[in-house]
């Protein structure tokens, strides 16, 4: 999944999509995942990174990542490839 290149994310978790004018807020975990996805990391790399930084388990992150990516698609923040 590739995140649209033109979207802007602020340090405080504010996301702006210039092609639609829509804005979103992200919590810190959402912000971090989005940043990793934007850098082109694959799911496994994202999960590893989150597990390294946060107190949680692989099952929870995997499930949440799947759901989060669905929401990104839903909000049209990804590029169709």
């Amino acid at each position: 999944m590739a995140i649209k290149k033109n979207i802007a994310i602020s340090d405080s978790g504010f996301l702006f999509n210039p092609s639609t004018g829509d804005s979103y807020s992200l919590n810190p975990v959402g912000q971090e995942i989005l940043k990793l996805l934007k850098e082109g990391k694959n799911d496994e790399e994202v999960i590893e990174q989150i597990l390294e930084n946060y107190l949680t388990d692989r099952d929870a992150v995997e499930k949440d990542l799947y759901d989060f990516k669905n929401m990104l698609e839903n909000y049209k923040l990804t590029d169709d490839e």
Binding site: D22, S25, N27, V29, G30, A60, M71
Partner: protein, 452 residues
């Protein structure tokens, strides 16, 4: 490096320009303790879900309401509305405070007697009183609140047979200017039915008319309606005095005071929109005091307040089973408590607080119960922080009606505890088991065997 607390990733669209007068976030603090006892330990000790009642809050509510009425009127008597919550621990807390009992069925009546309430301090209301109920009331000298003419005639007949003069009141319904008008119970004031029933009672001389009763509605948000009701009851009492030179002992204004719950569809939360008890008290007592009674002949004011005295003393604790995403992208959370123990979720948007600390991000969520039934929706829309399976929540204002109206539908009913004024936890009802559900069930012999 210490790892950070994990919270489910959230992305939430920011809508500007849409109607959002009151903001979306409603819960700013976690409720980790009830009456000083931790929610976590309560659920660990008694299982999830769990009803919790605060004895301190019940007593405080009662004393507050009593003080408010007694500072405005000299003769006040509360009667605990059993149907609102008939757990013995709850009833007896009210009885210890001096409240009588108000019942609407035989088993409630028997419960009150069993709890130790004197027969003459049990008010029997409702449309369904059997001959045997009426006989028992006459024997125990309990005030019978007559609901309809058939009951009046039956009672007269039974009293004649027993050669006793039962103490009675008639239930009066009336237009108090609010909608809906509750005219299904009792005798109507405006069309003369009530006056007609009074004349019938006075003419036979078989019944001792001691009171006049009304109960104008439920969750009444207009205190002035009680002023109208009190005026109309007083007017009937004055007419009885003028025609028969008989003083009515009591005017019973029933119940119906609203609690601080939020009705579905209301613009403001209950905490901001529901009248305070003193507003009802002011309307009622002013109307009676101005009705023209002689100062030494003022009737007692009876009150059957239920909901307003117990709702905020009750909590339901529960846990998250799972989270899912609906087809339209909405977040859904499945809780381990459903509408079978939350009957009031059909008309209230219950306040629900997470029981553990949470971050600043929230999501619009639909809260489902655990029942495999489409109707099992606890909150159609609520803004909550992301909750993980196993995390806990506290539902507020659960003390009225939920426990008495709960049922073992799909899920058995949970345990109920009461926290006393010294923060000690008492189990007042055990969690149900299959044995409780099957008690009284009989299986015909020929249905016992089968092969599959």
């Amino acid at each position: 490096m210490d790892k950070k607390q994990y919270e489910r990733p959230i992305i939430k669209p920011l809508n500007t320009g849409l109607m959002n007068k009151f903001g979306t976030r409603t819960e700013y603090t976690a409720l980790t303790h009830i009456e000083g006892v931790s929610v976590k330990s309560l659920l660990a000790d008694y299982g999830s879900p769990l009803f919790v009642l605060s004895e301190r809050k019940i007593r405080e509510n009662y004393r507050n309401a009593k003080r408010i009425f007694e500072t405005r009127y000299p003769k006040v008597q509360f009667a605990w509305s059993y149907k609102t919550n008939y757990l013995n621990a709850v009833c007896n807390t009210f009885h210890q405070e001096g409240s009588w009992a108000e019942v609407v069925s035989r088993f409630e009546y028997e419960k009150a007697i069993k709890n130790g309430v004197d027969g003459d301090k049990i008010l029997f209301n409702g449309p369904d009183k059997t001959d045997s109920d009426l006989t028992l009331c006459i024997e125990n000298n309990s005030p019978i609140h007559i609901d309809h003419l058939d009951e009046l005639y039956r009672l007269t007949e039974i009293a004649t047979k027993m050669d006793k003069k039962p103490r009675v009141a008639i239930r009066v319904n009336m237009d108090t200017g609010v909608y809906p008008m509750w005219d299904r119970f009792g005798f109507n004031y405006e069309n003369g039915q009530a006056w007609d029933a009074i004349n019938k009672i006075m003419a036979t001389g078989k019944l001792d008319l001691v009171g006049l009763h009304c109960h104008i509605g439920t969750f009444m948000l207009t205190p002035s309606a009680y002023g109208v009701a009190a005026s109309k009851l007083s007017d009937l009492a004055m007419s009885i005095k003028n025609k028969y030179d008989k003083s009515i002992t009591y005017l019973d204004l029933g119940g119906g005071f609203a609690s601080k719950n939020t009705l579905k569809g209301s613009l403001l939360p209950g905490s901001d929109s529901v009248p305070e008890i003193y507003e009802y008290a002011e309307a009622i007592t002013t109307a009676i005091l101005n009705a023209g009674f002689q100062p030494d002949d003022l009737p007692y004011l009876y009150l059957e307040t239920g909901r307003a005295l117990v709702d905020d003393a009750g909590f339901l604790l529960g846990s998250v089973i799972s989270n899912k995403r609906l087809s339209d992208g909405r977040r859904a959370t499945i809780m381990d408590f459903g509408v079978n123990i939350m009957f009031t979720s059909f008309w209230y948007d219950h306040k629900i607080s997470p029981a553990q600390e949470f971050g600043q991000h929230t999501e619009d969520t639909i809260l489902y119960g655990p029942l495999c039934m489409n109707i099992d929706v606890v909150r159609e829309n609520i803004t909550l922080p992301p909750l993980k399976p196993g995390e806990q929540v506290v539902v507020h204002h659960m003390g009225a009606y939920n426990i008495s109206q709960s049922m073992q539908f799909i899920s058995l009913r949970p345990a109920i505890v009461m926290i006393d004024t010294d923060k000690k936890v008492h189990l007042i009802k055990s969690a149900e088991t299959l044995d409780v559900l099957e008690k009284g069930e009989l299986l015909p012999e020929y249905l016992k065997e089968f092969s599959l």
